[in-house]
Amino acid sequence: MRYDAVVIGAGPAGSMAAVEIARAGFSVALLEKHSQPGTPLCCGEAVSKGALDRLMSLKPDLISCTIDEIKVVSPGGKAITVKHPGAGYILNRPQFDLELARQAVAAGAELLTETIGLQLSGETAFESLAIDNRKDGPGTIDARIFIAADGVESKVARLAGIPNLINVRETESLLQYRLKNIEVDPALIEIYLGRRIAPSSYLWIFPKSDREANVGLGVSTRLTQKFPPEQLLNDFIGSRFPGAIEAGKFCGLAPRYQGERIFRLKNLLVAGDAARADDSISGAGILYALLSGRYAGMAAAAFLRGDIRQEAELDQLYPKKFLDEKGEELALYRKLRNIYDRLTDDDFDEIIVALIEFFAARDSVAGLKPGQILAGLIKTRPKLLKYVRHLW
């Protein structure tokens, strides 16, 4: 088999990349190891509405809920609820991923499901990808350019020579249930902090309707022996949602990756979680996957058109464009992560109290930049400077 380009993984990053390549008129194979993109689900499905609306228009059936309020509860039980109309969406992620892959196919991409991308080979550039298809068995696909969008596993990139191994100390172990038969506010997301709830991470309640939610938590992996995620989550659900029915169980890894992010090796581009392009504070990665996939696809199309002669020139399109937009944000989240890891439960209580004071005079968080909130907090509580001075 021969295509102009091969994209490995039909998640948000891969489908976006395939759309761009196909729309530019090139043949592209989009490989997905499962029988259908988007399944099984490994996601809380929350995404910023403003950022997603800027990227694409969504059909209503891809959105489970629109979020207008965010509640944060400190370890000592102090709670702040901030109004933020249209803050986010809780997506129907399986349908969302499927729809993106359909768009790639509509643009001309060939979706090869139940096909695993294994290892790249070639002389000076990568020329061929070994694959395994569930029905037809092993084979190869030749192409002029490859995009690894194979998610957190990122085996293709690593076997090609990109050192994106994650140190277990830089990870969080995530567990989530889909709960039914519960009562939740469909416009509110809830976040719980504290060592006894989600050590070095947080617990989330993301509504799917007024009777259903994704409820999950993270635990810093170095603490999982002492605080098993399953036990912590069951304890919380038992007290908060007695009578809940478990309608799904999902888990995964949130990388707190501190290493260098490598987006290209020769004619292999890496996008989304595979490039470790996620937010080190919340673990959110949908938006970064969409954006990095889009720019990787555009760069691949430029390469195929001959706009770019040397592989190294690819960097001017990808990752440069992605990092110009998101690089500072990702770097800030890394720094905030280091601060977050040092906070004690008392610190969280203090910060929430300061936030309550800060927002007492404000009706909504809309329009406020993180820097403005930080400055406001320090003004009301100069003591908090000790937490944020490492940012600069």
Partner: protein, 61 residues
């Protein structure tokens, strides 16, 4: 040796990028370990959120 309880594994793939010797591979839906490569470093069982991986130390007394 490394034991994977396939009935517990949710195929999240989270353990795969932690393996320093590329000993783990998530196929269509089953996780495999190449026992010849595995150094029993303990990273994957420590991480797995649903405790689907255990290390069995055969020579332990």
């Amino acid at each position: 040796m490394l034991i994977i309880a396939q009935e517990l594994c949710l195929d999240c793939g989270g353990c795969v990028p932690l393996c320093p010797v590329e000993g783990l591979f998530l196929s269509f839906e089953d996780l495999f370990c190449d026992q010849a490569l595995c150094t029993l470093c303990g990273a994957c069982p420590e991480f797995c959120p649903v405790r689907a991986i255990t290390l069995e130390l055969k020579d332990a007394v």
